[in-house]
């Protein structure tokens, strides 16, 4: 029983770090993703193509590799004292922003041209058209893929243990090694499961809220 309490406390310690990575990533990757998506749809080629290339690189390489690049890269280049947590946040934000950008782009491009035209002939400014007409329709359409990304992010935070961030999985592994037992690893799964359950419920709620109209 004492061991169980010890493991639980250790995992809760990790949970704090996991939640911090999760929240900070969303907070920064969502707006950055919108900027990247607008850039990837830009009519200026000097903006569009570098951004498309960035999206290709980030989505085309493993997140774990990106973590290592941002975690250990600066040291190799002679920059001393890189904070590993900062490296994790940079890698996660950049990675998720690129995925979010593609989801935003899909959502924005799925809105029929007629919606923009109807706004224009009614004398709305481009900003008003975007915020009063387009945005909510985009949000409704991207809720399901966004739900997927949020769930993936919860579980991806476990990759941070590769560069010594003490999140849930790192703590589970530490318990395994110090106590010579296997079950903390399975126990850690329960933490992810509960987090994902909560997120799923929240997304179901939002989806229901936006179900008052079709189209």
């Amino acid at each position: 029983m004492q061991l169980f309490t010890k493991v639980t406390l250790s995992l809760f310690e990790g949970l704090g770090v996991t939640l911090k990575i999760f929240a900070m990533t969303l907070l920064m990757a969502l707006p950055l993703g919108l900027v990247i998506s607008l850039g990837s749809m830009s009519k200026f080629k000097v903006v569009k193509y570098p951004i498309k290339t960035l999206i290709w690189i980030i989505r085309g390489t493993p997140l774990m590799l990106q973590l290592i690049v941002f975690g250990l890269g600066p040291g190799l280049l002679g920059v001393r004292g890189m904070n590993m947590f900062v490296a994790v946040i940079i890698a996660f934000v950049l990675n998720y922003a690129c995925y979010f950008a593609e989801i935003f782009r899909g959502g924005i491009e799925s809105i029929p041209k007629g919606q923009y035209e109807a706004g224009a002939v009614l004398g709305l400014t481009k900003t008003q058209v975007f915020f009063k007409i387009i945005l909510l329709q985009v949000i409704k359409r991207i809720i399901p893929p966004m739900g997927n990304e949020f769930l993936t992010l919860v579980k991806d935070t476990s990759l941070a243990n590769t560069i010594m961030i003490y999140e849930i999985t790192w703590n589970a592994k530490r318990m395994m090694n110090s106590e010579h037992i296997l079950w903390p690893l399975f126990y850690s799964g329960v933490f992810y499961l509960v987090l994902c359950g909560i997120i799923t419920l929240i997304f179901n709620y939002i989806e229901k809220k936006l179900d008052y109209y079709k189209g």
Partner: protein, 260 residues
């Protein structure tokens, strides 16, 4: 003086010339229908009038003022275009209602946003909004939608949606209403409910240009008919003339191919 003059409008998409030098004018209170087969350029002409498409050459003159000149289109700011578009109400073939707003919200959205630009807005906000809402209800009721104020577009039939769309355009009190095939997306049996609304506008002396495939309707509602063929006005005249004594070979062919 003519309320609207269209002078030598030309428009190409890539290398296809869709409008080749189109000119016509109309008087206040006049109803003009544009007929012609698909691809003849009638929708493009309508869209050039309120700059949804920007003509390559030619002018749009409203009440004697040049509001669009193809030679100077690059100089027009989007703010200028926005202001000038407000002279026209536009009704789309596919309605284009905003799905997340109820019927009445669709109608009041633009007037409320525009009201914010009024100098007395801060002072009289409540009154202005109340007035806008009362006006929207009046418009919807006169289109037979008094029980549908709070319904969302997805809960309305196509005919009802199009009537809401007409009210939405009217709510900004445009000088000229432009209709782009307003009944083409509708089942034949509900076409009439939309045509009735347009007819009642004609009776109130609303200035209108209607692109339509409904020949019987065009004949009964219009003061004048324009027949477009291959990017030019092939023939124009009063409905009787056009439908009973067509002159050009193309119009004769067109009329023999459409059901009256």
């Amino acid at each position: 003086m003519a309320i609207l003059e269209i002078k030598n409008i030309m428009k190409s998409f890539d290398k296809t010339e869709v409008l080749k030098d189109v000119s016509f004018s109309m008087e206040k209170g006049e109803v003009v229908s544009i007929i012609g087969s698909s691809g003849s350029g009638k929708t493009t002409l309508l869209r050039c009038i309120n700059f949804l498409e920007k003509a390559d050459k030619g002018q749009v003159v409203l009440n004697g003022e040049v509001i669009f000149d193809g030679a100077e289109k690059k100089k027009m700011t989007s703010e200028e275009i926005r202001r000038k578009q407000l002279n026209f109400g536009f009704v789309f073939q596919s309605f284009n209602l905003f799905p997340q707003y109820s019927a009445i919200e669709n109608v009041v959205l633009a007037p409320k946003l525009l009201a914010k630009e009024r100098p007395d807005f801060k002072h009289n906000k409540e009154e202005i909004y109340a007035e806008i809402e009362a006006n929207a209800k009046r418009l919807l009721s006169s289109a037979g939608l008094e029980t549908k104020y709070d319904n969302y577009p997805c809960e309305l039939s196509g005919g009802q949606q199009q009537r809401v769309a007409i009210c939405r355009a009217l709510a900004l009190s445009p000088e000229i209403m432009l209709f782009d095939e307003p009944t083409s997306a509708l089942d034949p049996e509900i076409t009439n409910e939309v045509l009735k609304v347009i007819k009642s506008l004609a009776d109130e002396k609303m200035t209108m240009i209607i692109v339509t495939h409904e020949m019987a309707f065009a004949r009964s509602v219009s003061d004048r008919i324009i027949f477009m063929d291959d990017g030019v006005i092939a023939e124009e005249g009063v409905p009787e003339e056009i439908f009973t004594a067509p002159k050009s070979r193309r119009l004769k062919e067109f009329l023999s191919n459409v059901r009256m």
